[in-house]
């Protein structure tokens, strides 16, 4: 079987992520606070106050990759959470009661919570529950849904909340707000996002130097370590490796014939099997809508908080599909219909992002085989034509 070529940076990322998780556990000994944060929250504010951010969603993905999601979801369902609830949420609950089932031993207890609803509204109820469970304060950033044109009032609403955040963080941490550290974190965040965007956009070359599966796995630092030097260093190394591949004309998939775009959250527990299957058929997953969400960055504004508010305001556009991720998935059938009407082949596959119980391997394989066969035929027809 032909597999996609692995990136050397992947090994470095595992170590980096382990250090990130350890930082959460060591925070108290170092006199630092721990905050649970949603993936779209402006973490730069936390770095300014030396708070260690911990991401339950990212932990859900890690459990998904390790195929521990099903057991942890089951634990949450035994507590009374319904089967149709977001699996990240359920995994988070499950790991609190059965940390040994988590590949990283669960998460440390938070001192407070920072929740931004720009990724979905489900997180609000999730974090309200966390606040009750841990008896810790919850800071909610209400970032209104953007339907079409941006409303100046929405932007102002986000800015108002961002302006209020330093005072709240000072109160919760007992520290003085550091504008200098904040600016530094925003700059680092911007730099990492620029590098990450270059990694993604490099796949516009043929053959694509990486796959979307690489991107899914390598997005860990941009999600969880935005605003840190470590993230910048990591993406600098990754960019260098990708540039080299482009320079050598080296593709991640040998004999790349067909290029696919993945729309929706990754199905974490099936990343390698799907990627390997496609690579074996000369098909490369060259992009994903999901990974783009972390290319947004603060504009150059004299008021750093204002520039950051605009960047986080823009993220809403991108978030919107998994089987259990209702906001991301509702609308995919319409996208598929539109693509088909424009003659672009597409396939809709059903499966939960982190709960491997909601995935039918046989069905996926049969459908993928048929799809790849069709693409092969079209490729050959194109060659003949």
């Amino acid at each position: 079987m032909t597999r996609p070529k692995r990136l050397e940076a992947a090994a470095g990322m595992k170590e980096l992520m382990l250090r990130h998780f350890q930082a959460g556990w060591l925070a108290r000994e170092e006199g630092r606070k721990v905050a649970f944060v949603t993936s779209g929250a402006p973490v730069e504010f936390l770095h300014a106050m030396d708070v260690v951010p911990v991401y339950p969603e990212n932990h859900g993905a890690v459990c998904g990759v390790a195929r521990a999601g099903g057991r942890l979801c089951q634990a949450a369902e035994e507590r009374g959470y319904s089967r149709d609830l977001c699996s990240y949420w359920k995994i988070d609950w499950g790991a609190r009661t059965r940390p040994s089932e988590s590949p990283i031993g669960g998460l440390p207890n938070p001192d407070f919570l920072l929740c931004a609803n720009n990724i979905c509204r489900t997180v609000v109820k999730w974090y309200e529950g966390l606040s009750r469970f841990y008896r810790v304060p919850l800071l909610l950033l209400d970032l209104p849904f953007r339907h079409a044109e941006e409303e100046p009032a929405a932007r102002e609403y986000v800015r108002d909340q961002f302006r209020n955040l330093p005072g709240e963080l000072a109160r919760l941490t007992g520290r003085m707000w550091s504008e200098e550290r904040f600016r530094e974190s925003v700059d680092l965040s911007r730099e990492a996002s620029v590098l990450w965007q270059e990694c993604i956009e490099a796949n516009s070359t043929r053959p694509a130097p990486t796959t979307a599966v690489d991107q899914f796995l390598l997005m860990g630092p941009i999600v969880t370590m935005r605003g840190t030097r470590e993230a910048v260093e990591f993406y600098r190394g990754l960019t260098h490796e990708i540039r080299e591949r482009v320079r050598r004309g080296e593709g991640a998939v040998e004999g790349e014939k067909t290029r696919l775009l993945w729309d929706n959250l990754p199905v974490w527990h099936q990343l390698r099997p799907v990627s390997d299957f496609l690579a074996d058929h000369g098909t490369a997953l060259v992009g994903a809508t999901y990974t783009n969400a972390w290319t947004e960055r603060a504009g150059e504004s004299p008021d750093v908080s204002e520039g950051l508010a605009d960047a986080y305001a823009r993220v809403w556009l991108n978030m919107g599909l998994g089987h259990r991720c209702k906001p991301y998935s509702f609308g995919q059938e319409e996208i598929a219909a539109r693509l088909k009407s424009e003659g672009i082949p597409c396939i809709l596959m059903d499966g939960d992002m982190a709960d491997e119980r909601d995935f039918a391997e046989g069905g996926w394989r049969t459908r993928l085989e048929a799809f790849v066969e069709r693409l092969d035929n079209e490729h050959h027809r194109g060659m003949r034509g």
Partner: protein, 373 residues
């Protein structure tokens, strides 16, 4: 023929059975437009002041079309709405309002309308947090934008005077509905669950002035004081369905309180009748109790629910969870714990508007009512 006392209820029931027919009749008599409001929290006073009929659509007005193209992870409320609109139902509706209730409804606004459906539509995004800095200013901007849109759609500008009159009409309606709820708490069994459901649902279709009259007539009846009831139930969740209410009635349960979106949450809280009217609507919204779709720091939905439960004199709590509704589902385990800790019998009953498991629901409700007897 129903007796004089039964007439309001029969009329309300008829409206619930055929909301589209009621809207159609109103339009042919008034010659004005109807606006479809997706649940929940649309400031209807603005539509009323623009001379339109606000109609709340709950998704179970029609049988879902098989070609609805609704994914299985969408709740039956949103699924029913999408299916009806896509299959050309609700042609009586001239314009649509989609509030930012949840992820599914927000997305529905983006994806559901067929390209040839050019009816005006407005996404009413309201703050999810009642006490976030800037929330009143942001909501005021949205209310003003909605006001302008409604004026354009109806062809009648929403003047301050017209809005003030509409606020009074709605306040009067809420006051009378509150009297109905008070009566149910004070004299358990004075109104059945089916009556509460029919009156609440009909009010989301009928003009408020007419609905107020119906409620007044219902309240003026001289019914015999009912005998002791088997259970005093507080209902929580998005909505109850007709069959669930019938099962509660059949089991001998009295509804003494509720915080249903198709119920108390829709009718509670008056708006100020003086001052700036847009601001008055903003204040009313931000004063709402925290719920599945509104956050408030320092006060939780469960705490407030327990306070209201105690006030109602209920002896058990029934959570009606629409399947696939994430905002409502998340609180269930903690709600159950809270009830257990206080010795309150609690049941969470899953409902699906288009696949109601009536027999199973009936058995579970009967067992629930028997608990602690």
């Amino acid at each position: 023929m129903p007796s004089g006392e039964e007439r309001p209820f029969r009329f309300a029931l008829e409206v619930c059975r055929n909301p589209a027919g009621a809207v159609s009749r109103w339009k042919s008599v008034s010659g004005r437009k109807a606006a479809g409001c997706i649940p929940i929290y649309v400031p209807e006073e603005i539509l009323h002041a623009a001379g339109m009929l606000p109609v709340t659509i709950w998704g179970n007005e029609f049988s879902p079309a098989s070609s609805g193209g609704v994914p299985p992870f969408v709740c039956s409320v949103a699924g029913g709405i999408v299916s009806a609109i896509r299959s050309g139902k609700w042609e009586e509706i001239d314009a649509w309002v989609f509030p930012s209730t949840c992820d599914t409804i927000q997305n529905a606004f983006e994806v559901l309308f067929p390209p040839n459906d050019d009816r005006p539509r407005f996404p009413f995004v309201f703050p999810a947090s009642a006490d976030a800095p800037g929330a009143p200013e942001y909501m005021l901007d949205r209310v003003e934008a909605f006001r302008e849109w409604a004026g354009t759609v109806s062809g009648r500008e929403v003047s301050e005077g017209a809005l003030e009159r509409s606020v009074r009409v709605y306040n009067e309606n809420r006051k009378v509905f509150a009297l109905l709820e008070e009566r149910m708490a004070e004299t358990p069994g004075s109104f059945t669950g089916t009556e509460l459901w029919a009156y609440a649902r009909a009010g989301m279709v009928l003009p408020r002035e007419g609905h107020t009259e119906i409620l007044k007539k219902a309240l003026s009846r001289s019914r015999e004081v009912p005998g002791p009831t088997r259970a005093k139930v507080f209902l929580t969740g998005m909505l109850a369905t007709g069959p669930v209410m019938e099962a509660l009635d059949a089991a001998g349960a009295a509804i003494v309180g509720n915080d249903l979106a198709l119920g108390n949450r829709h009718y509670s809280g008056s708006a100020d009748e003086s001052g700036d009217m847009s601001l008055s609507l903003v204040r009313r919204h931000l004063r709402r109790d925290p719920c599945s779709t509104l956050h408030e720091s320092g006060r939780t939905r469960i705490e407030r629910l327990i306070e209201r439960f105690a006030w109602s004199g209920a002896d058990r709590l029934l959570m009606l969870r629409v399947r696939q509704c994430e905002p409502e589902s998340g609180d269930v385990p903690d709600m159950a714990d809270e009830c257990r800790g206080r010795g309150i019998p609690f049941l969470c009953l899953d409902i699906d508007l288009h696949a109601e498991e009536r027999a199973s629901a009936r058995v579970r409700i009967e067992a629930f009512v028997e608990m602690g007897e």
